[in-house]
Symmetry: C2
Subunit: 483 residues, 2 copies
């Protein structure tokens, strides 16, 4: 068995050796995805997709609680729509796929496949909104979108991906800004308390904001290789799209005014981030709240007691399932427990439940935590409560570990050389002063490979000089290399 185990483990490249290879090894071996024959598009296999289903269902609940409703807009966007908002077309044009023929005929106007839906939705809102009585409009859409990326990475950057995009319209700037912040806070709370990923909330610099936005806000997460992933964004779009699509309303003062709009989204990137934040050299470590299976039961012991142990295992399975816990059982007789232990560790299942003949006699079983490896013997009479408590504890522990990791890899820097070292040797995020000029931001990128992630709302420290030009800093910025 020892040999098998070893061979098994070595199939995953260690994180320290090659983080990218580790990532690909893990998602393939854990059966979350497969490559497709179409460039940059992946297949979400059932375990990968189920993680997305749990993300969807929880976010959807939160959106509805805050008054949003779902709708669905066409994925085809006439070429002329993109021309209406100048920055928007510049930002997205290079990434669009074009439908030029359909139903056996060449189309008069090419149709883009949506990279995001501000333009189509702007066009519709113009028809729907007449008066302040029609406001606010609070709509969300779950959809597939396409951005023809040059370099792709499963989940994190794929040509077609799944996401939600909220689009709201309001009477006033103040109300739209409040909505923008509300949604950012929903994302933060969700990502931290559901995916156990600590994030940094802040505002994007002008060069990194959404094409067409007035202000873009983001939550940024640190992967285990020190790189950043933008885990969610929320945009205050001002009246930019309202002016481009003439979305006007009759105000309370009887004047025609442009609405103020917002948009906000998270995508299947969250799955990739979650894997890169929590995974280890043994494989996936799934946050309990999204794990397709939260508990895996493995009966152990010699053949002579097998039937009795399996029968009890089935009972425990039923009991946990009834309590709403996502539980699996692997009672195959021809596969050794050691193999199963490795397999389900690799798949990141939060709790392994072992039960053997002696446990049975004592009315107990053993719960093993995926994150810490700790074993706990618990009374069967209290099993549901113990499992629930341990799932919660694992979630907390995952969050705390990720937070500690981030703190350990967060550097306050004063020179470009220090920043570069922080990226390359120490692998992490850096906090630096910035004068606000695009030239300085560009120079940082050229010399260190880092981009500004955001201007954090609550920086750990306020920096006073620009890391690039040495002039007075206007902002304290988080810089990092990013996916």
């Amino acid at each position: 068995m020892a040999n098998d185990d070893k061979q098994f483990v070595t199939e995953i490249t260690p994180q320290q050796e090659d983080f990218s290879r580790w990532y690909i090894d893990v998602i393939k071996k854990a059966d979350l995805m497969d490559y497709s024959p179409v460039r940059g598009c992946i297949v979400f296999k059932p375990d990968g997709f189920e993680i997305w289903e749990h993300i969807q269902s929880e976010l959807d609940r939160r959106f509805k609680e805050t008054g949003h409703r779902n709708a669905y807009f066409p994925m085809f966007i006439p070429e002329s729509f993109f021309q209406k908002e100048k920055e928007h077309v510049e930002g997205f044009n290079p990434e669009l796929p074009w439908v030029t023929e359909a139903g056996g005929e060449k189309l008069e106007e090419r149709l883009a496949i949506r990279p995001t839906s501000e333009t189509m939705i702007g066009h519709m809102y113009q028809k729907w909104i007449q008066s302040y009585r029609d406001l606010p409009v609070l709509i969300n859409q779950w959809a597939n979108v396409v951005r023809w990326e040059k370099r792709t990475l499963p989940f994190l950057r794929t040509s077609e991906f799944l996401w939600q995009e909220g689009h709201t319209a309001h009477e006033t700037e103040a109300e739209a800004r409040e909505e923008t912040m509300q949604m950012l806070e929903i994302y933060r709370d969700f990502v931290e308390n559901f995916l156990a990923i600590p994030v940094i909330m802040g505002q994007k610099t002008p060069s990194e904001k959404f094409a067409g936005a007035v202000d873009t806000y983001s939550i940024e997460a640190m992967m285990k290789d020190g790189r950043a992933v933008q885990a969610g964004t929320s945009h205050y779009l001002g009246t930019n799209f309202a002016e481009a699509f003439e979305i006007k309303y009759l105000s309370r003062d009887n004047t025609q005014e442009f609405v103020h709009t917002t948009s906000w989204g998270v995508s299947t990137r969250l799955i990739g981030s979650m894997i890169m934040v929590h995974g280890d050299d043994r494989g996936l470590v799934l946050p309990p709240k999204v794990a397709p299976k939260q508990v895996m039961i493995i009966p152990i012991g010699p053949p002579k007691t097998r039937d009795a142990v399996v029968a009890l295992s089935d009972q425990l399975f039923t009991e946990l399932k009834k309590a709403g816990i996502r539980v699996g059982i692997d009672d195959r007789a021809d596969v050794r427990p050691g193999w199963k232990f490795n397999e389900y560790e690799m798949r990141g299942i939060p709790i392994r439940l072992e039960i053997g003949p002696r446990d049975m006699e004592n009315g107990v079983c053993v719960l093993v935590s995926r994150i810490s490896g700790e074993k706990k013997t618990v009374e069967l009479s209290n099993l549901v409560a113990e499992v629930k408590a341990l799932l919660e504890q694992i979630h907390q522990e995952m969050f705390e570990r990720a937070k500690q990791f981030r703190e350990d890899h967060f550097y306050s820097v004063d020179t470009l050389q220090e920043m570069k070292d922080s990226m390359e040797e120490k692998r992490g995020f850096t906090l630096a002063g910035w004068c606000g000029s695009e030239a300085c931001e560009k120079k940082v990128k050229e010399e260190t490979g880092a981009t500004s992630r955001n201007i954090p709302f609550k920086p750990a420290e306020v920096k006073h000089t620009c890391i690039s030009c040495g002039q007075a800093a206007k902002h304290t910025v988080v810089f990092a290399r990013a996916y």
Copy 2:
């Protein structure tokens, strides 16, 4: 008020005058959809989309209960994939939209946007399935699909639409056929017991089956203009796609065998069918189980008692909501109750709850059924139970009415002239004998406009001669004009 009401009602074209106009009037006025700037594509507005969400969530539950899991496959399908299954390409080619450029470059191979995913999924299953131990594969996908239709009709036939497509692979024909029938039965049960639409289960004739299937089965529903809608289909695909995509497995006997596959789907057409089956001249009539709002509370009475009545209405709202009932309240002071009554009738809300000062004194309120118009005074102390019972009763009544309508418009015919009359004057389905030849089926279509809907599993009567050639009938077939 009488004038307002009249004007209001006349905005909907009566069904008898022009059924198609009635349909468009209703879906527009009830705010279920809007036309988009892209040919044949509609916007699902929140009330329309929420109906789909209820359909999704209930079907998804049933799919999972029967062991299926969701996955997601790319929507782009390389042109060469379609060439692999001859019938499939012939069936779908004329309707495909093609992506020919992306990311600023012309593509080497054109990409179709999926009209259905047998080919892409076949390609993946070939990689995933090696041995009988990998079988069955039971996967479902919720997705958007595109068929570039010449004539479109909101919900019923749109270029882009939403659906689910199940794709399964099995060791044996028997098992695959069992799956095909299981899913058809799930559709029947769902459509009848959730959407209150009675359907006819049966097998499609060869000319009407899915392109690439061995056998196609369907459930067919009768609209109020006597036309048919195919409400769901389930296909036994034999080894056709397995051979085209080389999906082989190592059998229990150690031989290489082709898998047997099935596919099955329902789409947003269900929304259109539901409207055409249940609606009336006052507007929508929504089945309680999918209605976005099941109850609308309308406080009535003079200004002096208004505050007290509204306060009580709020309490009832909270009570119903807590009980899991989807409830709304319209307590606007500046809109007359009569207008509200019409509005929510038009929107098809199953129950109107009226409460005024006298009701309040008596501890009662009035429930009004959308389908029958019956009013029932109920004790507030028993409100939740009364509402639940009435919702169930309305569902039953809707189903019975639709069934009665279908029976009243179902004709056994022996000549093509009789069939034509049944289509045009009597507006309905016909039952007729068919010899099994494609020529006869074609002649029926040419002379009557009717197509074979299916060969019902349980025909009301067995017909012995072919309606077209007069030879012995092989099958008893339901013929109708169809959407």
